[in-house]
Amino acid sequence: MMLADQPIPRPRLSLPTTMLVVDDDDAILRKVRRESLRTTNLGVLVADNLSDAVRIMESGIEIGALLVDLNFRADTQDEERCLHTGLDFLEYVAQRHRAVPKYVLSVDATDQHSRADAAQRGIHVQNWFDKMSPDSSQLAAWVKIERDLIKSALLSDSTLREKLSDGSDLADLFRDDRVAEQVRTAIRYPRVTYIQKLEGRRAITVRRPIEVLCWEREGRYFARASQIPLLQDGESDDPVDAIDELADLLREEFMSLADSSSGLIGYAEYIYKVLCEHLDTPAPMAAP
């Protein structure tokens, strides 16, 4: 654990770095979260049903990319908005958040009918990723998504555009996947991700995802809740573990303060109030 005085490195590029993954399979969500936190700088939000996915899209959190499954079980669909499939959800989003890049991760990704359906609805899917692809030489979906976001940011960067205005062919370079890959692996900007669950013996509901800044310094990863100024950060040699440590810290801090909430003053009282804005009071311990 690290004390939270150290300044966070400033981002060198302004990127919309959070990816929302929507899938009704928890195992897939866990895998995508774990792997994308380990191999990219993307932040990750997950939704295991279409209603939650809509709620996150409309929460005001800036989403940089969507990675969505096509098929959803009946109990994970959104009847109220008539969203039954991933394409329904993408169409819904396209009408309200047109600029968000959309990706599909599905066992039906190669199905021409799905692709035709998307085109017919006017949904521009940037890339279709096959969940069952046996080709291990292919880059993972999240790596390609991050690379696309970097390419897009480089192309829209005004300073770079000025440099390109002299007619040089650098623009072509920035459209090159190999260049984007070099940039992707070279840049280490602070990642913005979210904590959505605080797991433990006493259940605590996270009302609103907790924004977390995660960065790397000298081979160690640090995680800080940007809106909950705790005295400590999560720290580990693995980004997922650093975020999990922060989640653990938040949970324990909240339970400890909740147990003594009538005897808090000053900063402890302030932190408890801030935590209460994000979390529901823990359920009392069950009698042994």
Partner: protein, 176 residues
């Protein structure tokens, strides 16, 4: 360092409240009225045996001390009063850094922390009449130097000045 020695130092010198968990012990800062002024900031893990170096470093940093200063505090070369002043110094730098990052959004947090620090300073153990040890002199000189950078700050300058005066007055008394 043995966990038991560290625990004794934290409880006897700094009057931290102990909260035993399954495999570790958490400590938080209490006031005389029994109210908690700061969320938990120290965790000793494991509760028995030797404390790992990384845990020691985290605890030392939490208290605003260097590793060596923490072990000297546990060995009674640094008083509870000096260690408390070092904590206040660290907390002030923490909020100053946060204010720089978050701007006015952090003002309620800043005010809450300043009130906690004021409370800690109000309850500072007496300086006593003995001359400061060499370790105390070095620690207070370092804190004083760090606080000087915060003195011109419109938000934290006043509290920095209060801590600074408490450090300097002790040094003056003993020099006289």
């Amino acid at each position: 360092m043995k966990a038991k020695d560290l625990q004794r130092g934290l409880e006897a010198k700094l009057k931290l409240r102990r909260k035993e968990e399954h495999r570790h012990i958490d400590y938080c800062v209490m006031t005389a009225s029994g109210q908690i002024a700061l969320p938990t900031m120290i965790r000793v893990s494991p509760a028995d045996g030797d404390v790992p170096a990384r845990n020691l470093r985290g605890i030392a940093t939490a208290l605003g001390l260097r590793d060596e200063e923490l072990s000297r505090m546990v060995r009674c070369h640094i008083s509870g009063r000096c260690a408390s002043l070092a904590i206040c110094n660290r907390l002030l730098h923490f909020v100053s850094e946060r204010l720089a990052q978050q701007g006015v959004l952090f003002m309620p947090g800043l005010e809450a922390m300043l009130s906690s620090i004021d409370r800690l300073l109000d309850e500072l153990p007496d300086a006593g009449t003995r001359a400061p040890t060499t370790d105390e002199s070095f620690l207070m000189a370092r804190c004083s130097q760090e606080l000087t950078a915060l003195l011109p700050d419109t938000h934290v300058g006043q509290v920095a000045d209060r801590i600074h005066r408490l450090i300097v007055s002790r040094a003056d008394t003993n020099q006289a």
